[in-house]
Amino acid sequence: MAESRIGDIDASSQKFLRGKYAICGIGETSYRRGSDETTRALGTWAIRNAMADAGLNAGDIDGMLSYSGNDSTFSPFIAGDLGIRLNFYFDVHGGGSSIEGLIGIAMGVIEAGMCKTVAIFRAMNGYSQVRIGGTGARSAVPISGDQIHHRAYGWQSAGQMFAPTFLRHMYDYGTTPEQVAHVKVAHSKHASNNPKAYYKQRYTVEDVVNSRIICKPLHLLDCCVETDNATCIIVTSLDRARDGAQRAAVIQSVAGRVCKPRADMHYQHGPISTVAGHYAKDILWPNAGVGPDHIDVTGSYDAFTFTSMLQLEDYGFCKKGEGGGYVSSGIIDLGGGRPNNTSGGHLCEGYTHGMSMVIENVRQLRGEADDSCPIGRDGKRQHTYDHAEGGCRQVQGAELSANLGWAMPGTGSAMVMAKDHK
């Protein structure tokens, strides 16, 4: 037998960075198909918007992080376009579940004295250049080595790779397609109150389960949208953030790319209906000093309806196996007890590899969801909290948010943020 067992280590870190760093600025381009711009132009635009939001000049930013799947432009080019001289940058490989981890890295490098303020961006033409669904040029690349064990079997796209987890959850716990369809219903409801959303139409459970099957158990409407866009999040110390233009979103805890055992092929270690959140929660909640019951709004990554459901369950928002009941109970809807992805998320707003879900929660904690509510004389939105179609998107009294980032069943990241009351 093995000498040591994997998965038994205490991975929780020290907690002294809780409440010490913050997101001071957010920015994005529009969510489109056919941007007719390079990722360099998109990235520059998103960072410029985030700097304007934060009230920062080029000289205030000295760190940059980005992530991509070789489908973006590297930081030095974009820094040049913005007149930023960098003291720190890294461009890393990654998709979903990168941003929460990179926010933790930004905190670490500022703590280490390497730089003071970090702009993190993701720029992508996810529809018109490198398609996120894996079709087009990405679908026909030569296959070698370790990839043969999946790609040669037509097991390549995200939906195909995750399907065994989703189906096994249905088998283990009796989760139904109709229950999970409620994720799309809720997120489409939220998107209808988001002027930026690519898809603003509201959908019913029947619409979802009657749409064509892509890869069982995924119907077309269980799958996210592909769009062209860039997004930016600026991280700095809470002290500096309080000198900025916006109310700070205070970072309470981060967990970055936490893996199930056997990250090389996670299906070897079950239960396969359990995802990485099962492990990440033991870092996230103790470091934040709060638990799921304290959270007002969630951003559980919705590459598919199932990914939101699985993560909410494994992070402890409901009992294990009851994710289907949780997402179909109304709690994740605007006006419910703990809405999820109030922007419409990746199912409806646009695809950003998780950036937009953090951006949305920053807006929620500021109390400034950019919906269609009127803007008052003070320049602030006068939220009505009427969540009818085309109406308000703001969660009343949002104090604490949780983002649950997804790379795949075996890997996830997470973050808790709090509203600042300075």
């Binding site: 067992r5 189906l167 096994r168 099957i213 070897q268």
Partner: protein, 173 residues
Amino acid sequence: MSVQGEYMGMMLTLDDLDHENIDFFRYCFEGDFRLQRGAKSGLLRYPPTTACPWTGERESQWVAVEGKGTVHSYAEVHHPIQPAFRDKVPYMVILADLDTQKGAPSEHEALRVAGNLVTADGEFAPPEMIMRVGIGTRLRMVFVTVADGFALPQWTIDEAAEQPESPWRYPQE
């Protein structure tokens, strides 16, 4: 020497440095399913890896393993992504728990081996065959040749085995 072959229009390559995968697929070509067994842990592993996942030890031995198992879960693809699979839909990707080492070294672990559902002759399964297969179906391994010294393991229904009355399938057909 690297090994290369065209399979359904896809170019599959094993670099000459990739000793573990070259060995694995060469045994498959010989109709002999073998997995690495760590010398220290005594545990088999899949897919081929450089070192033992339980001890980190590099020394291992290729051990013949019976190609029989049970469907643990699957993907059933109706909308193809890769061009090679355009005329194969619907097709199944199966994760099968091998009988060997199931539930070891811990309860939820197993050697979960991927493959498509194919006929006994190695052709992609027709829809009526797919309809018979779900979680719990008993399978046996067959091999499909890619090139000289290179075959892929695939799964077919084990017609000689006792099958569950109704294997679990996704409720919408």
